[in-house]
């Protein structure tokens, strides 16, 4: 009776199957909604002040973060308490911020993009290869890199949106393909490129932090604004929440999905440029390591600020949270392996938490 199947909320579809079960019952029994869940009136809900409720339900991650920072501070009052440490925690991950925002944009419209890290790697390879090895003007090299990244996004969109291939498969494939291309371009070498002005676009101090930190803040705020206050953003949320509902409301669903892939790739390209600018070079085989932290941050971000929804501010907080944890452990003398353990565990815990938080949230 009704045509093609549709999707459900991005966060739901990607992290649980609870919604599917609900639908099966309502398809059949016709009375699935008849039973309203009983409202639990507990002492806690009665006497808990509103601000405390908001704090515990929407900002629990911030509380955990504060507790973790406190523990580190007590253990290492000098090293962890220094201004250098604060700077390292907040300003140390500009690449991850851009990459996480890139992943966020596709996840918002209920698409997976597992190729963001490779796209970032492509940009981070093209810039030093062109500018360093072939003597191309560095800004021209950046422009070429960004166009290449958007091209990669367009290819993803073509397969996923117009040929209707699973986004998981397509982006996994293009991601690997792009790593290969980057290795080919760079002849599998670490290509470095030094330029004072170019390195300033990431490292120039501004208000006590590297300027790239402020780019990240600006980007997160901009995305948050677009999502909350522009027609485009509202439409994106509906495409993510239920594609069929969006289509029947006259939204050009496929246009928005395509745009999400392209913009996401563009942001990934920017993160590559910042990476080269900050580090002065890039090893094209290492791009894969950047994917998981970005996804972990985006999913962990759904537990905070707007629980149950992908949101940019939450993603920022999650990045700081994860990085604080790793930074502290490294100060305590744990070697590099701790990073993988922390991010890996972070992703699983984040998705599990997101599911719990979402099933409990009753209001937007």
């Amino acid at each position: 009776m009704n045509p093609e199947p549709s999707s459900d909320s991005a966060a739901v579809r990607l992290s649980s199957d609870e919604d599917v079960t609900g639908r099966i019952i309502s398809d059949s029994g016709e009375h699935a909604e008849a039973s309203e869940p009983p409202t639990r009136v507990t002492l806690r809900s009665q006497y808990e002040p509103k601000w405390l409720h908001t704090l515990t339900s929407k900002y629990a991650l911030v509380l955990v973060w504060a507790a973790m920072a406190l523990v580190y501070y007590i253990l290492m009052p000098h090293s962890f308490g220094s201004i250098g440490a604060v700077r390292a925690i907040f300003g140390g991950q500009p690449v991850l911020v851009f990459l996480a925002m890139s992943a966020l944009i596709t996840l918002l419209v209920a698409e997976f993009d597992l190729s963001v890290a490779s796209i970032m790697g492509l940009a981070a390879t093209i810039v030093p290869v062109l500018a360093g090895l072939h003597g191309v003007n560095v800004w021209v090299a950046c422009l070429i890199a960004l166009v290449a990244c958007m091209g990669a996004g367009a290819i993803n969109a073509f397969f996923v949106v117009y040929l209707d291939v699973s986004s998981f498969v397509v982006t996994l494939g293009t991601g690997t393909l792009l790593i290969g291309l980057s290795q080919w371009i760079s002849a599998s070498n670490v290509v470095s490129f030094q330029d004072d002005l170019f390195s300033k676009i990431a490292l120039q101090p501004f208000l006590g932090m590297p300027v790239s930190f402020w780019y990240g803040i600006g980007l997160a705020l901009f995305i948050a604004y677009v999502l909350a206050y522009t027609p485009l953003g509202r439409h994106m949320l509906f495409v993510g929440a239920n594609r069929e509902v969006a289509r029947l409301a006259g939204i050009r669903v496929n246009g928005i999905r395509t745009g999400a892939y392209i913009v996401s790739s563009l942001l990934a390209g920017f993160s590559g440029i910042i990476l080269v600018s900050a580090l002065g070079g890039f090893d094209s085989t290492s791009s894969g390591q950047f994917l998981l932290p970005a996804l972990a941050a985006v999913f962990l971000g759904t537990t905070v600020v707007q629980p149950g929804q992908f949101n940019p501010i939450g993603t920022m907080i999650a990045i700081w949270f994860l990085w604080t944890g790793i930074f502290g452990l490294q100060l305590l003398g744990f070697a590099g392996w701790v990073q993988n353990v922390f991010y890996g565990a972070g992703l699983v815990v984040a998705v599990a938490l997101a599911k719990v938080v979402r099933s409990r949230s009753k209001t937007a």
């Binding site: 609900g22 008849a34 206050y229 522009t230 509202r234 509902v245």
Partner: protein, 512 residues
């Protein structure tokens, strides 16, 4: 020693506070075709789901097969072993697999050593069942290449695979719905051969004609109760059954008897083909008029709302409103919205609302582009719209920020309705707006539909609920399978049912 093949007594099922089955009993004799009929929501599908173990019945039910007590809730393995099999409405066939695979699935014969599927045996099994049913289909054919009747036959063959001739019960859950009329006779012949061996058939159906032609006895459900238990079909007419299914006509008073023929036409649909091969449908909706569309499932009435609103492309047809003309074979939702058509779809969970978002967001959705500029959409008007809707339709919620998934079905339906009212459409197209909502919400929804019409909007209401149709519609179009239309102006649900189930007999309609 009981003489029944399947004996179910005291079947009750409660969802939350709603009792959907109340002490139902039905008795299927060996070698008979027993029909189970009832309106949408009468509990037929719940009965089947209890028998297949999908739902757990309330305490007190007893179920016996050939006198053997079956443990409850039903375990699918156990009941299959006891000889019960089901053919669902969609038949559950995989198109790209062969007939033999489709018949064999769930019980593949494996070879001894490698445990791989023994295809030779599998084909032999399929061939044996098909021969038994006298169906001429090669087991190697992919199911996708078969016509509707052959597909249904393969579905039956799968159900019979493990049954010894003369035993067991086959449950047909609307399995004949997809069959063209002229093919039904052949399919019925097959069913008669099956019962002649002694196997019983329990068929759930909408088609009263089929019940009379095929079934020996019929059990009729209404609102979860048995209103006709194992009646002999030989003494019944379709009208008798329809009356029992509907019961006393519910609240049919409030229909406004207005002469609307001088009002301007707000939308006219012409040459709409719901499915290739059907006669085209034309209709006009006047300002303030509520036009009902109904028919049996499969007559295309249920696709009309999606076709006229551009949600699905029609084979042919066009729509004209004051705002312009849309070719329904090419246009999409955006074009139809621009022409002033708003669709309230049936499946609110899938097509209607984003369940993980708030009431306010959902109601604001269709207006975001209109009310906001490119770079800014205010929040204030969204809150105002949402509060207005909550007030107007008496939506029960704590605030406009509540997520849709927290609301009851009736309140969700009201939000969906409010969402599309907020675009001030010229024509509001509704599909089953009262499905799965409680009585109070139904009344609220029907009242607001009338209020909308009174404000000058044209309303097209596609529904399989004669009660709803007669209560608010100014005229009702009854579609039949070949595409012909009967127009009714009536406030008796019986008249509508009669026209729906009695496609062949032309009913005198009022003036257009």
């Amino acid at each position: 020693m009981t003489s029944y093949r399947l004996e179910a007594r005291h079947v009750s099922k409660t969802f939350g506070s709603t009792r959907v089955l109340d002490d139902v009993e039905f008795l299927v004799a060996p070698g008979e075709i027993h029909a189970l009929i009832g309106q949408n929501g009468s509990g037929k599908s719940t009965v089947v789901k209890i028998l297949t173990g999908y739902h757990t019945p309330d305490a007190g039910m007893s179920l016996t097969l050939d006198g053997q007590l079956v443990e409850l809730p039903v375990q699918w393995d156990a009941i299959t072993a006891a000889g019960v099999s089901v053919v669902h409405q969609d038949l559950g066939l995989l198109d790209h697999m062969s007939v033999a695979e489709n018949i064999g699935v769930g019980g593949f014969v494996r070879s001894k050593v490698l445990r791989r599927i023994d295809w030779k045996k599998q084909h032999a099994i399929a061939q044996a069942v098909l021969d038994r049913l006298q169906v001429q289909v090669d087991p190697a054919t992919p199911v996708g290449a078969l016509n509707a009747t052959n597909r249904a036959e393969v579905g039956i063959a799968r159900a019979l695979r493990d049954q010894r001739p003369g035993e067991g019960v086959i449950i047909l859950d609307e399995a004949t719905r997809a069959l063209p009329r002229e093919e039904l006779v052949r399919f019925h012949g097959l069913l008669k051969r099956v019962v002649a061996e002694g196997t019983s058939v329990l068929m759930v159906t909408h088609n009263l004609d089929e019940v009379l032609a095929l079934a020996d006895r019929v059990t009729i459900l209404r609102d979860g109760r048995v209103v006709g238990s194992a009646l002999e079909t030989s003494g019944l007419t379709e009208q008798d059954m329809a009356k029992l299914m509907l019961g006393k006509t519910v609240g049919s008073l409030s229909r406004r008897q207005k002469d609307l023929s001088d009002r301007p036409v707000v939308a006219s649909v012409s040459g709409l083909v719901t499915e290739p091969g059907r006669a085209p449908l034309s209709l006009e909706i006047r300002s303030g008029e509520i036009v009902g569309v109904t028919g049996l499932p499969g007559t295309g009435f249920e696709t009309v709302p999606y076709l006229v609103s551009g949600a699905r492309k029609a084979p042919a047809g066009s729509l004209r409103t004051e705002a312009g003309q849309v070719d329904l074979a090419k246009g999409d939702v955006v074009d139809c919205l621009r022409a002033g058509i708003a669709l309230v779809p049936e499946r609110r969970d899938r097509d209607g609302l984003a369940f993980e978002m708030s009431i306010r967001d959902n109601i604001a959705l269709p207006n975001i582009r209109k009310r906001g500029s490119r770079w800014f959409v205010g929040r204030a008007w969204q809150a105002v719209e949402a509060d207005k809707a909550i007030e107007l339709l008496s939506i029960k919620t704590r605030s406009a920020d509540t997520l849709i998934k927290e609301l009851s079905g009736g309140n969700q339906q009201k939000v969906l309705f409010a969402k599309w009212l907020s675009v001030s459409p010229r024509v509001l197209v509704l599909h089953e707006p009262t499905q799965a909502v409680d009585v109070g919400a139904r009344q609220d929804i029907l009242t607001s539909i009338q209020a909308v019409a009174d404000s000058g909007v044209g309303v097209l209401l596609a529904s399989g609920e004669p009660g709803d149709l007669v209560e608010i519609c100014d005229r009702i179009l009854v579609l039949s399978r070949d595409g012909s239309v009967v127009q009714l102006r009536t406030d008796s649900a019986d008249d509508v049912l009669e026209a729906v189930y009695n496609e062949a007999v032309p009913t005198a309609g009022g003036p257009a």
